[in-house]
């Protein structure tokens, strides 16, 4: 039967998301900007329905001039803020030096966290020593802020004989039980549900330590993320569920994981988990909301989801070149600015910091980084053949080496 085309229903179509900017266009002004101090600070036991809108808002403490305003201000002392500034500067200097080491051919791979330093650095300072982080590969700030030795990080990056992981992992896939930093998998999202399990174990054991789960906005599309939320929600596990929304999953814009939801924090609300959206480039806001979420968890009030808005200013990794998929001025035009500059501005404004001290601190940190790298480099590098004994690859597959591995190790020699 012939159908008159005017009467035919339109064919089905899909929406293929497009990012807010691509090479040749620019970030439009004003995205994410909302007045600092506007978001209220709910009671720890506030019903999830009553704070439902916080998943759409943005918790910000620092205003454009560097004032700390609103109900979330004041969780960190000035000493803590100066320590936070130092942490972030160390992370940034470490990243820069390690990128140079990569260009020099010393290390095979690196991932920087340029622009995202505040989130890991501030949350680490907001939690307690017994709490366990289940990080992604962009939370080196957790290690730095916990005082993990720089030279040990570099040994891991160089995969040399002093690498605590014995050269088994790609650079940046650190692990340190002592510094409460769970072994990084490299498979995205798997750690999120493990963090919930760790938190459940802490609760089942009657301990008081909480877990902090980390994931990027892109990896939140993985099923482990959803499994984590349903378990965290069902058992009210003492866990902080961090989603670091840095806008880009390699070349893929955040829209692909977010779908038609307005925010990533919406995901938490759907599971009945209090969910907040926070300016991740605002050290004070990160510290305040992390403290709040940790207190909720420790008070048996269950999980909290936090979507941290930030920008991956640099490339995804040393194997990536973002100029092919986003404008070069993405970092410069990002409306939430630079986390280090914003904290420095605040400390100067309140008379707790000045340009001289800043310059001296940067020089001091540069010296520490160089000193650490000189030491780590003296232990050699895997790329130059300074690897562990090949027989060590058979260690730690099992606690006790079974016969078939003993036989295979013998074939390697020894």
């Amino acid at each position: 039967m012939e159908t008159d085309s005017a009467d035919a229903p339109p064919g089905l179509r899909l929406r293929i998301p497009e990012p807010i900017c691509r090479p040749g266009s620019s970030e439009p002004a004003g995205r994410y900007l909302s007045p600092a101090g506007e978001a209220r600070r709910p009671a720890l036991d506030e019903k999830v329905e009553r704070i439902a809108l916080m998943r759409k808002q943005l918790v910000r403490v620092l205003d454009d001039d560097g004032n700390a305003v609103g109900p979330w201000a004041g969780t960190a002392t000035n000493d803590q803020l100066r320590a936070g500034l130092r942490d972030m500067l160390v992370v940034r200097a470490l990243d820069a030096r390690m990128l140079r080491a990569h260009r020099q051919g010393k290390i095979s791979f690196y991932m920087q966290c340029l622009g995202e330093e505040a989130i890991a650095c501030a949350q680490q300072r907001a939690l307690r020593p017994g709490d366990m982080h289940f990080p992604t590969y962009r939370q080196q700030g957790l290690l730095v802020a916990s005082g993990y030795p720089l030279v040990t990080m570099m040994n891991q990056l160089l995969s040399n004989d002093h690498d605590p992981l014995r050269g088994r992992q790609l650079p940046v896939m650190y692990s340190s039980r002592a510094h409460r930093f769970f072994s990084i998998s490299g498979n995205l999202g798997t750690q999120y549900v493990q963090a919930v399990g760790w938190a459940m174990a802490s609760a089942l054991s009657g301990a008081t330590d909480i877990a902090s789960a980390w994931i990027g906005e892109g990896a939140s599309a993985e099923s482990d993320f959803h499994a984590a939320l349903v378990f965290a929600s069902t058992y009210q596990a003492p866990v902080i569920l961090n989603v670091v929304n840095n806008q880009w999953a390699i070349s893929t814009p955040e829209d692909f994981a977010r779908g038609a939801a307005a925010t990533f924090a919406d995901r938490g609300f759907g599971f009945g988990i209090p969910a907040l959206r926070v300016d991740g480039n605002d050290y004070l806001a990160v510290h305040a909301v992390s403290t709040w979420a940790a207190e909720r968890a420790r008070s048996n009030l269950g999980p909290t989801m936090i979507e941290w808005i930030t920008l991956r200013v640099g490339a995804h990794s040393t194997s990536d070149d973002p100029s092919g998929y986003r404008p070069d001025d993405a970092g410069a035009r990002f409306p939430l600015g630079d986390p280090i500059e914003r904290l420095r501005q605040h400390l100067v404004l309140i008379g707790e910091w000045d340009d001289d001290r800043h310059r001296v601190l940067i020089e001091q940190i540069a010296g520490e980084i160089e000193h650490a790298f000189t030491e780590a480099d003296s232990y050699g590098e895997a790329k130059a053949g300074a690897t562990s004994d090949p027989r060590t690859m058979f260690d730690d597959v099992y606690e006790m080496m079974p016969r078939h591995l003993l036989e295979q190790r013998r074939q390697v020699g020894g």
Binding site: V193, A195, W198, A201, A211, S223, F231, M400
Partner: protein, 347 residues
Amino acid sequence: MPAMTMIEAIRDAHAVAMERDERVVVFGQDVGYFGGVFRCTQGLQQRFGSHRCFDTPISEAGIVGVAVGMAAYGMRPCVEIQFADYMYPAYDQIVSEAARLRHRSAGDFTAPLTIRMPTGGGIWGGQTHSQSPEALFTHVAGLKTVVVSNPYDAKGLLLAAIEDPDPVIFLEPKRVYNGPFDGHHDRPLVPWSTHPLGEVPDGYYSIELGTARVHRPGSDLTVLAYGTLVHVAQTAADEVGVDADIIDLRTLVPLDVDTIVESVVKTGRCLIVHEATLTSGFGAELSATVQERAFHHLEAPITRVCGWDTPYPHALEWSYFPGPERVGAAMLQMMGADAPSVTGRGR
């Protein structure tokens, strides 16, 4: 010594483990209040409380992912995947996480967990309740894989698995939960209460992982089997009058190579049987192991009788299942008798 079904023996192993070690927690779909769809955890929640044995959402990735986190914390989770066929959503957590955590962190973090799964066919379960995925685990460095065939072993091996410092996949062929299935689906099942391996001691005992068991000593040929097919092989041997040396492997990784080689050196013939599909099945690994270590003792080609390389069928289950007829015919053929070709590969 009490007679137990394999279900009761597994239940008892849980209770003994939970009694001995408060780090042992048990969870999975329907395992708490109800005690599991096969009742392997019945009574544990009532006895130990809902903090030691509890139900979970229907999320295999969640069950295993949570267990990895708990094990890293220092607990000893023993979790149930309701059917082995449902484990695929958890496979990444098993393979990329549990199996490799100790190695990738150089011993900084470990994952001592046990993942129990009812496995295998013979219960009219169709393609989603009948699979035997053991080779998907034996291929993974860092896992130990156990397949049990009887109540006595099930209790001792499960206690060993829960105590083991590494992740253990614990496969329970559901066709032998209630009796030593002989492969004849049209005959009444013999209950475990009449079988010596249904005698299960009270209290604690364990069976070292990596040790095989001579199920039935013989001199004509070696049968390498595990799970349900241990009993099917015995039926086949009895029916065709072959004096088979039937080895119940019990643990596939680590493998008890010495017991295997000793048997093949003695008999000169090696028949390998499993329910799982033939190609790249664990039988291929066994065949390679035997020819590497006992080639000059072989008097006949190593032969495999396995599930066909098809999805597990429903209506045609008994044409798929490597029952006593196919196993017995292979035995006769290996002994030089005139029998039609019935093995997996056509000749």
